[in-house]
Each structure stands twice: as structure tokens, then as C-alpha cells.
């Protein structure tokens, strides 16, 4: 029998729970969550494209789903996720040029991502309803 291994208490890097909440941290986490949501949301686009390419009946099924309150909720969330991830990406591009990293600037960019994504989502949906007529 081998000797049971002695458990050595090694220092670990601090875990997420130890940090004080900050807006930059929240937007970083949201960037990852929206990325994952967009990843699986591509299935909605595929469903829509396949239905449009197959038959009027299939297309009507997809349209009815997207027009339902649940479908609208999903699409609204998807729009917001897309725009939040897009603005988050622009924030990363700004950081890549070594700008916007100072205290205050980071927080400004994080809030801008959040506020901008909500404003743009509402704008896109208002345009959508206007075009729908």
C-alpha cells in the first residue's frame, strides 16, 4: 500500500467571491455570458434561414414563434446581448490601444457599454416596429 498523501496547504489565487463588486468586473462577466448566449442563439438564425428556404408552412411556424410574447422576449434579449457584446468588444479594442485604462476611464467605459447597449436595443426595436408599419 502506498503511503496516503499528506495534504499540503498551498496558497491559492483569490477566487471571484473575494472581490468587491465593481462595474468593470460585472461588464466583463456579462461580456462572457452574452457571448455564450449569442453562441447558442445562432440556432435561431439557422432555424429562420432553413424555414425560409424550405416552405411557406415552415416559415409561418417560425414567424409565429418569433411573433409570440416568448419569441419577442427571446429576440429582445438576443438583440441586447448582441449589442452589449458589440460595445464590449469596442471597449476591448480601445483597451488594446492602451487607452481608457486609467481609474475613472475604465468605469466610464463599463457604464457606457451598459447604457449604450440598452439605448441601442430600444432604438433597433423602435425601428423594427416602425418598419413593420
Amino acid at each position: 500500500m502506498a503511503e496516503p498523501k499528506v495534504q499540503i496547504e498551498r496558497p491559492l489565487s483569490p477566487h471571484l467571491g473575494i472581490y468587491r463588486f465593481s462595474i468593470t468586473m460585472a461588464m466583463s462577466i456579462v461580456h462572457r455570458i452574452t457571448g455564450s448566449a449569442l453562441y447558442f442563439g445562432t440556432l435561431l438564425l439557422v432555424w429562420w434561414l432553413l424555414a425560409a428556404s424550405s416552405s411557406a408552412k415552415q416559415f409561418d411556424i417560425v414567424s409565429a414563434f418569433f411573433a409570440s410574447w416568448f419569441g419577442q422576449l427571446v429576440l429582445f434579449g438576443y438583440t441586447w446581448a448582441l449589442l452589449h457584446h458589440m460595445l464590449g468588444g469596442i471597449r476591448h479594442f480601445i483597451w488594446d490601444t492602451a487607452h481608457g485604462l486609467e481609474p475613472g476611464e475604465r468605469e466610464f467605459l463599463a457604464y457606457a457599454t451598459l447604457v449604450g447597449s440598452v439605448v441601442l436595443t430600444l432604438a433597433v426595436w423602435m425601428l423594427g416596429y416602425m418598419f413593420k408599419g
Binding site: 432553413l50 411573433a67 458589440m86
Partner: protein, 124 residues
């Protein structure tokens, strides 16, 4: 000792490692105009019938923009999901299986979407 050629390539001793970082930036830049164009197309099609959706997607310019957006987005999201898997999944077998699934999912989405767009453009 670093040869001038090695310095120009900028890959260091690991010989690789920055491709994903670079590809994520490249596709991210490409995604910006492509997704904005995609949103314009989608918004213009809100509440449209199948016939008018097909008419719009059969426009060569719209079809090509859509295909370009798909390519850029799919490469981008595959790298992104790979990073997430590598960050959070520490069991070797599970990690490998999920990385495989990531590639298969991306390819399945790519093939289905491209098939539909080509069919709308050439096959109806």
C-alpha cells in the same frame, strides 16, 4: 539567441500562442460592419412574408454580406467558446469532448446556414 527572422515573426519560444488572440481581434473588427448590416437587413424584414424574405436574401449583395457575417461570427464564437471551456472545465476527458463538440456545433451551424442561403439563392 534570437535570429532577426524569429524576432520579426514575434512568436517567442513557444512558437505559437497568439493566433487565437489575433483571430479574435480580426473577426471582431470584421463583425462590427457585418453585424450592423445584418441588423439593417433583419429590421427591414420584421413581419415580412416568406416571399419578401426570399426576395431580400436573394439579393446578391445581401447574400454575400450574410455569408461573410456567418464566417466571421462563427470563427469568432468558436474561439470564444473554446476559451470558456478551457477556463472552466478542468477534467481532461470532459474538456476534450467539449472542445470537439464546440467545433462540431460551429460547423453544423455553418453548414445549415450556408445551405439555406445557397438554396434561397440558387435552389428554389
Amino acid at each position: 539567441m534570437k535570429t532577426p527572422f524569429a524576432r520579426v515573426r514575434g512568436l517567442g519560444t513557444a512558437h505559437s500562442g497568439t493566433e487565437h488572440f489575433w483571430m479574435q481581434r480580426l473577426t471582431g473588427i470584421a463583425n462590427l460592419p457585418l453585424i450592423i448590416a445584418f441588423l439593417v437587413v433583419i429590421v427591414s424584414l420584421v413581419g415580412s412574408s416568406q416571399a419578401s424574405v426570399i426576395a431580400t436574401l436573394s439579393n446578391p449583395f445581401v447574400a454575400m454580406i450574410l455569408l461573410a457575417a456567418l464566417m466571421s461570427v462563427l470563427i469568432h464564437m468558436r474561439i470564444g467558446m473554446q476559451v470558456i471551456i478551457e477556463d472552466y472545465v478542468h477534467t481532461e476527458l470532459r474538456k476534450i469532448l467539449l472542445l470537439m463538440a464546440n467545433t462540431f456545433f460551429t460547423l453544423a451551424v455553418a453548414i445549415a446556414a450556408v445551405y439555406a442561403i445557397l438554396k434561397i439563392n440558387f435552389g428554389l
